[in-house]
Amino acid sequence: MTLLTVDGLTVGDSLVADVSFTVTAGDRVGLIGESGSGKSLTSLAILGLLPPGLPASGSVLLDGVDMLHAPERRRTRVRGRVAAVVFQEPLTALDPLMRVGRQIAEPLQRFQRLRGPALRDAVHAALDDVRLTDTSRIARAYPHELSGGQRQRVAIAMALACRPRLLVADEPTTALDVTVQAEILDLLDRLVTERGTALLFITHDLPVAARVIRDTHVMRSGRIVESGPIGSLIAAPAHDYTRTLVDSARRFDAALERTGRD
């Protein structure tokens, strides 16, 4: 079953140009590209949250709803329920003035109509799911009182509390330390497997993408330049740009190995 169909999406003055791809239920798809390649605008377009004044054409069908042109009310009903998102910078993505527990409670109230003790238990369970220990302390904390990794776990818990069928992860590990990155990737990997959620993973980092996704699209200057299973892309990159991505990742690995041996 197709969850998301992007067809000929064009945003602004070719910030995103004629991008087409689909995500079916349970899929794991990557969008790889350097910053400014249009991948984040694509993710905003999927949720129908492009900044006002930025013209978009083509079509984005999320569970059959046209996220570019449908009335706001219809688009709101699809967000969270069908697709939820984890953004890059967890510090600014969370409300700085609201305790973390209440922020996680919000989608739980909205989508599962939970109240009272049941709601509190669900919040703790959600924190537990993202491997946050000491859940009652964290639920009472404000975002600025948590570490970057903890905040991103909270953001993931909020997104998954919606029980979406598609999780859009927009550079979810870029703002984090390398060791924390690995933990968050494992967590995402495990959670989407357990729940059968489809994953659209957006990153500039080929090795990171390779850990969690199967198929990928490589974007450059707003266009998709190459698509395919990530394994074959790495083994035999067809496009020049993909080749530079693979080469630089290899060189980086090689350099790491050299310093490891010295």
Binding site: T92, Y142, H144
Partner: protein
Amino acid sequence: MIAYLLRRTAILLGSLVLAAVVLFVLLRLLPGDPANALLGVGATPEQIEAARRELGTDAPLATQFLRWLADVATLDLGKSLVSSLPVGPEIVARLPVTVPLTLSAFVVAVLVAVPVGVLAATRADRWYGPVLNAIAQLGIAVPAFWVGLLLITVFALRLRVLPAGGFPPDGWGDFGAAAQSLVLPVVTVALVMSASLIRYVRSATLDVLGSDFLRTARALGASPAQALWRHGLRNAAVPVLAVLAMELATTFLGAVVVESVFALPGLGGLLTRGISQHDYPVVQGVMLVSTATVLVVGFLGDLAQRLADPRLRVRP
């Protein structure tokens, strides 16, 4: 929070003392001898000398200052040079005009400015968003006294529905008349104040509308109104709280000027009269009370902001 409270209280007390020093020094060091002002032109040197002794202005400045501080500490603000009446009771007698005027104008301004500012930001894409903004832009360029003059012309002189100025001799004993005579002054001050407040609210709301956390809320299924209500307004309120205290002070100043327009017997009238008559105990007294009010309001505003923003609470 306790540490901050102590520190901020210390700063408040320091500011009050410093304000007293500045007031005193400015009034004494600037040219214009109160003894001269008291006696007028043509006084003999002996008369001036006698007047100085009586006023205590012949003593060294430090002594004068300490004497004055001691008096202030016992709520004695001295006597007017012109009327010989004690300044303290004179100020208290004028509060029933200035305080209701300032507070109601402030409340009206906030009640108008918050919804209008939010609308001007959230409806920037409709025709009325920019129109509201343009009106606010116009409002901050209009002097309060001119607004008062125009309102008097229309509502008091042409339509004759409200008094052009003055205050009933019974004060609030004649409640209806007192309230009526404050309507136009309150509207005047509130109009001018709300213009600048609208711009703050609009700016803070625009910042919040572009924030990542509002986008997160929307992305997880909150409607635009829900997201703005639950996350936006509170975040927008933090910077606005900071300026509210300052706005209250500005409202008070607006009231001081507007009282002159409407010939209201408030602090403003007392101050202007004191200045033109070189009646420095009066000026000093009114200034001290006004500055202290401004400083205390600023203190409360800072505390309110701390309470609203948990990020500020952790810092020492």
